[in-house]
């Protein structure tokens, strides 16, 4: 059995295809059954085939012989062995019950000879309606016109068996996708006695396969599209020179299209442009304008090169593809706009730099003259000035020196905003100890108890954070001057590890004015009480903002003040990345 089977299974169909294998098996089986049906001498397959015996013996002994069964030709089955006949009948009944397959016989002329349940279900004819009719009624008109039914029978007759997949017609005229195997039946002398036909309705499977293929293709295209957009986003973030950016976008875009190798991309924005080496003259093209602030400033054009296949010379752009091109055009427009703004900001930054420079030079020169000549006057003409006159000169000197300090503080403030952040690990405790030591050295007469939590480590810009501590600890130092037992604490909030505080038991402040503390030149104490430029806390705020955090203060008059600052380097670095890049671009 296995030998015969193997011989047959090589004739047609793809090896390993289970459905086809099962169909072939059934076809062979039906051939065997048909042989029993049509006469004991009939043999399935080509001349010399041995299957009927196998099949009949498979059906087994002890079966009831067919009753009321009228063989079509031959000798009334007189020569048929009773056991074989019973087996054949058993098998016939078995076949009749098969629901998933249409299994039926054709006579040599192609007329339907038998019918089963599967055939009724698939083709919708009852046995009475169809037996005796030509099997061409199962084929669509064009297939009949092309002579397909005849060719299939001819092929089955010549090769023993033929397989086909294609559209077939049901009784109600609807079509279904069928897998068909036709097996020629011969008698023992090798004469053709008819055909066994097994048909399976694959419409649903085919639809499912088509859907799966469509989904796969769609998923693949989506993936390529995403990769393309991701690459473009990366490029935009990297900020290469503009012509390079256009080139890279143009190279990435085809990947998102359905025919990458045939896609050509042309981009133009203002004076920048990217032309592909070849541009099709006739093929389909899609152009998307690039808008900047609503004005059309360029275009992204994509075209498919014609293929060799006539049918594919003019593929249309799908909605998805047009959407991708549109997204790219929008991204390019926004990038261009952003670059323009960056250039503008760089220009402002340069102007500010020039302004700071001239401030540091030009505004100080008159102050030197005011101070210097007041002093010269006091020294050279001491006899001509009374006490009051000398006091006035001293006031001129004080005022000019004060203004000089203000200018210096403002310059420092602008420098803090301009310079790029140098991130690294910072030991705030160590910084605080150094700052306190400086304060003690500069003002040894002021005995202050300072408590500083150890190991306060953060991520930040050490020189800038030193400025924060210099100002906050310096303020605490200054304002605790009049306290009975001056005391300063520096530490980290137990509940919020990113928050730090500097606390003193000094003069404090009226909480109603707390929000004015961090504005430029805002002072809550008169200069005669405490000196200072009024820029210190603004500077603190600047630095803390650049560390992604904030500053705030609590205070009570006469009881002291607590200044809080929060450092959130992760948030700051995200924002700062852009500006730092701008800085370097400006310098480069």
């Amino acid at each position: 059995m296995s030998e015969a089977f193997a011989a047959r299974s090589t004739r047609a169909g793809r090896p390993g295809d289970r459905a086809a294998w099962r169909l072939r098996w059934l076809a062979v089986a039906i051939g065997g059954a048909a042989a029993a049906w049509l006469g004991s001498d009939a043999v399935a397959g080509g001349p010399g085939g041995t299957l009927p015996g196998v099949l009949l013996s498979m059906a087994g002994p002890g079966m009831v012989p067919p009753r009321g069964h009228a063989p079509r030709d031959g000798d009334d089955g007189g020569d048929t062995a009773p056991a074989d006949a019973r087996g054949a009948e058993q098998f016939r009944l078995l076949v009749q019950q098969v629901r998933e397959y249409a299994i039926f016989m054709l006579d040599t002329a192609g007329r339907v000879a038998t019918w089963n349940e599967g055939a009724r279900r698939i083709k919708q004819y009852s046995a009475g309606e169809i037996v005796g009719r030509d099997f061409t009624c199962f084929y669509p008109e064009d297939a009949v016109a092309a002579g397909l039914p005849g060719r299939l029978l001819e092929a089955a007759r010549a090769a023993g068996q033929v397989q086909d997949e294609g559209w077939r017609v049901r009784r109600d005229g609807s079509v279904f996708w069928a897998s068909v195997t036709i097996t020629a039946i011969h008698d023992t002398c090798g004469a053709l006695t008819g055909y066994g036909k097994v048909t399976r309705d694959l419409t649903q499977r085919r639809a499912a396969e088509a859907e799966r293929e469509r989904l796969l293709e769609h998923t693949d295209k989506r993936m390529r599209e995403l990769r393309c957009l991701h690459r473009v986003a990366e490029e935009i973030r990297r900020e290469p020179p503009f012509t390079e950016l256009l080139e890279r976008v143009a190279v990435a875009l085809p990947e998102a299209m359905s025919r990458p190798e045939r896609t050509r991309v042309r981009i133009r924005i203002d004076e920048y442009g990217r032309e592909p080496a070849e541009w099709p003259t006739t093929a389909v093209e899609w152009s998307e304008p690039i808008r900047i602030n609503g004005a059309e400033r360029g275009v992204v054009a994509v075209a498919y090169m014609g293929g060799t296949d006539e049918a594919e010379t003019a593929p249309a752009f799908s909605d998805d593809e047009r959407e991708t091109i549109r997204a790219l055009a929008t991204a390019l427009g926004e990038t261009t706009e952003r670059r323009r703004k960056t250039r503008e900001l760089e220009r402002y930054a340069r102007e500010l730099e020039a302004f700071s420079y001239s401030v540091s030079h030009d505004l100080r020169a008159p102050l030197r003259a005011l101070d210097g000549f007041s002093q010269a006057l006091a020294r050279k003409y001491p006899d001509r000035l009374d006490e009051r006159g000398r006091d006035y000169l001293q006031r001129i000197r004080n005022a000019s020196q004060r203004m000089s300090h203000l200018i210096d503080a403002l310059l420092r403030l602008s420098r803090i905003s301009r310079q790029s952040m140098q991130w690294g690990p910072v030991d705030l405790s160590a910084l605080a100890r150094e700052v306190v030591q400086d304060l003690r050295d500069a003002d040894p007469g002021h005995a202050v108890e300072v408590q500083c939590q150890p190991r306060l480590r953060v991520w930040g810009d050490a020189p800038l954070l030193r400025i924060v501590l210099q100002n906050l600890l310096g303020n605490a130092w200054k304002f605790s001057r009049d306290a009975a037992r001056p005391r300063i604490e520096f530490g980290r909030d137990a509940e919020h590890p990113s928050r730090f505080y500097v606390r003193d038991n000094g003069a404090g402040f009226d909480p109603r004015y707390a929000d004015r503390l961090f504005g430029a030149f805002q002072r809550l104490h008169s200069e005669s009480e405490f000196d200072g430029t009024g820029v210190g806390l603004v500077t603190v705020k600047r630095v803390v903002l650049r560390h992604g955090g904030d500053v705030w203060a609590e205070g009570t008059p006469g009881e002291g003040a607590t200044f809080w600052f929060e450092l959130r380097p992760a948030a700051a670095r995200k924002e700062d990345d852009g500006s730092d890049q701008d800085d370097s671009a400006g310098r480069g």
Binding site: Y357, S360, H361, R368, D371, G372, F373, Q375, Q401, S404
Partner: protein, 148 residues
């Protein structure tokens, strides 16, 4: 001692010039001070071929006090010319300016300045600065031009 050492003060601001004179005078530094009002004049004081040659200092100054922000040729350019010229390659140049910008300090030293001083607004500080400058560059420091 060789010939009296002279100072070339390159300064466009007459107030600053007068203050410098007062400070030198009070510090009892009696060396001759030649004033150049801009960068071009400074070059004329150093090189006979610049201008009509009437301003050239002979012997050359012991030290140049150079402001950076100058009309016509600015201080950086003067410094560049001094260092590029074989005759003045080793001439001590002290930058004296209003700016404390890191960039100016870096550029000055980069071009070969021997020292950089920022003019303080406080005259007392300026006075001290000038006194120490005179002490150092005119008395303590040895210059290769002393023999000439």
């Amino acid at each position: 001692m060789a010939a009296i050492k002279t100072i070339l003060l390159v300064e466009d601001n007459t107030d600053d010039e007068e203050l410098a004179r007062i400070a030198l005078e009070e510090s009892r530094i009696a060396n001759e001070v030649r004033i150049a009002r801009d960068g071009a004049e400074a070059l004329e004081c150093l090189y006979p071929e610049e201008g009509d040659g009437s301003r050239v200092m002979s012997p050359p100054p012991a030290v140049v006090l150079l402001d950076l922000k100058l009309p016509k040729v600015d201080g950086m350019e003067v410094l560049r010319r001094i260092r590029a010229d074989e005759r003045t390659r080793l001439l001590p140049v002290v930058v004296l300016t209003s700016s404390a910008e890191e960039e100016d300090i870096l550029n000055s030293y980069g071009l070969g300045a021997n020292s950089y001083m920022r003019k303080p607004v406080d005259f007392d500080q300026f006075h001290d600065m000038v006194k120490q400058f005179g002490m150092y560059w005119l008395l303590l420091n040895e210059v290769p031009y002393g023999e000439r």
